[in-house]
Amino acid sequence: MSISLSRRRALAFSLPAIIAILPFLGACFYIFRFSISAEKGVIDGYSIQPYIDLMTPFFGRSVWVTLKLAFVATICAMMLAVPLAFLLTSLKSPFARRCLTVTILLPLILNLLVQAYGWILLLGPSGVLNSTLRGLGIIERPIFLLFNEAGVLLGLIQTSLPLAVFPIVSSVRGLSQEHLEAASSLGASHWRTFFDVTVPLLRPGLVGAASIVFAFNASAFAIPLLLGGRRVQMMGVAIRDMISPLFNWSGAAAAGMILITLTLIVLVFSAWLVRVTSEKVRN
């Protein structure tokens, strides 16, 4: 006997969630409808002009910067998240575990403006780092870590780190000990075990986490405003500017649709990647 879920029950189980997300789907449709509106400030008539207006080199660069920064930030966040997840699952003391969990969640909690202020005090042109390095005679001119792509990258990594760590933690918990033990009893080095056993086993969780992080970063707008000093034109910033003060709401909707489409392509691709690779692992 196996548990097979009848269609009807599956539907009944899914229904509450679908109802809960219905207003959101309405909003999605609304945005789509706005993006093909002939008027900029209200929905009226049909036109693909909002999309045509976006076909400029400037917007193209903005798309490129967005994808590039979101991608690099995702890779970096993953490189920090995996060790953090390992550490979190290895800690034995519940108190230490709690402290680490809260620490990792901090970027989600603290007001971004205040966090940006903290970073300015540390990494600003006259911040702790620059004045220390200058005091030690290592540098003559301040190094600029904020108000450019480096600053945005740092902010993206920081704010998306918690989103990466926790899905990986649950994957790590699900790791079969036998695999790891078998590998280490065969005398494989730690690195060999990591790359040949751990990573392939974790891959679905890793790709899942990475796709969340990527989506989150691609739509960021507060970070480029605050830590990028508005000099890094990510799409989120462009969309915000179109909403106010340009009041080009149809253009904002069109830019939003483009961003969503690009992100979805990445997500679908990564889901496909998981399927292909997990089938390979199973074989």
Partner: protein, 279 residues
């Protein structure tokens, strides 16, 4: 013991894993540490690190909450209460709808599951600014008078991706056999889910709850469009403060908010998880 993840003997692997983990901790916590130190500063405009320490800014924060005058401005107390209420509603609703969905997806067909997962990830993908204005325009054109639900409804959509992912992750560890065993002992399928599956999902559910709570409690962008003069939240209140000045009392208030979040996390952890806690 976990083999291979964090070995105890010295090796390049161990050093690098530890190094990256520490970098991760620093990236997460450095701004908070700086801000916390500054909030104990004795003066209002010295650099970092502060030369003298005092609790004066904290007494201002306490005054803000206790001596709130009845007149004008959004009160910080009202905003905090609204924020808490919204966060608890969002947490409860999103978890209640996500548990059955996670079960259905985990036991259902893979193709449907992938499609649904993508559908429920959508809120994460949308740029929040455009989502905010869309929600506002819809609410206004439908002439909705729904009070606090103006904020709760968009928040639920926003946290569902996180809650669902955590619940699905928890379901993956639960084998069909466990459930079958319960059914073969005479339990109805629903009973088996309630008695066997849900307790096993607890860690995932809890993680989802906490994410929902934190994200909703601290959400700014969509709330900025949806709040009204009567229904406003703490992040909105905080925003108007930080624009005018980043003085140490604002920092002290931030530290206070972090503290409130941590208390909430611990509370949920204790209430729901009992002794078998998640963290």
């Amino acid at each position: 013991m976990r083999v291979g993840l964090l070995p105890s003997e010295n090796s390049s692997y161990r050093i690098i894993i530890w190094f990256l983990a520490i970098v991760g901790i620093l990236v997460s916590s450095l701004p908070v540490i700086v801000v916390t130190l500054m909030s104990f500063s004795a003066s209002s405009n010295t650099g970092f690190p502060p030369s003298e320490f005092s609790l004066r800014w904290y007494s201002e924060v306490i005054a803000m909450f206790t001596q709130e005058d009845a007149s004008s401005a959004q009160s910080v107390v009202d905003s905090t209460v609204t924020s808490l209420l919204v966060a608890v509603l969002v947490m409860a609703i999103s978890t209640l709808v996500c548990i059955p969905l996670a079960y259905a997806l985990a036991r259902g067909e893979r193709r449907i599951r992938e499609g649904m997962e993508l559908l429920f990830t959508l809120p994460l993908v949308f740029p929040l600014v455009i989502l905010g204005i869309a929600f506002l325009l819809i609410a206004e054109s439908l002439r909705l008078e729904i009070g606090i639900w103006r904020i709760v409804i968009p928040h639920v959509a926003l946290v569902i991706p996180f809650v669902l992912r955590n619940c699905i992750g928890a379901m993956q560890g639960i084998s069909v056999e466990t459930e079958e065993a319960a059914i073969s002992l005479g339990a109805s399928p629903l009973r088996a889910i309630w008695d066997v599956v849900i307790p096993l999902m607890r860690a995932g559910i809890l993680a989802g709850l906490i994410f929902a709570l934190i994200i909703s409690f601290n959400e700014f962008t969509i709330t900025f469009f949806m709040y009204t003069i009567d229904v406003s939240t703490l992040p909105i209140w905080m925003y108007s403060r930080t624009v005018s000045s980043l003085d140490p009392s604002t920092l002290a208030l931030s530290v206070f908010i972090i503290f409130a979040d941590v208390v909430l996390i611990v509370l949920v952890d204790k209430l729901i998880a009992g002794r078998a806690n998640l963290f």
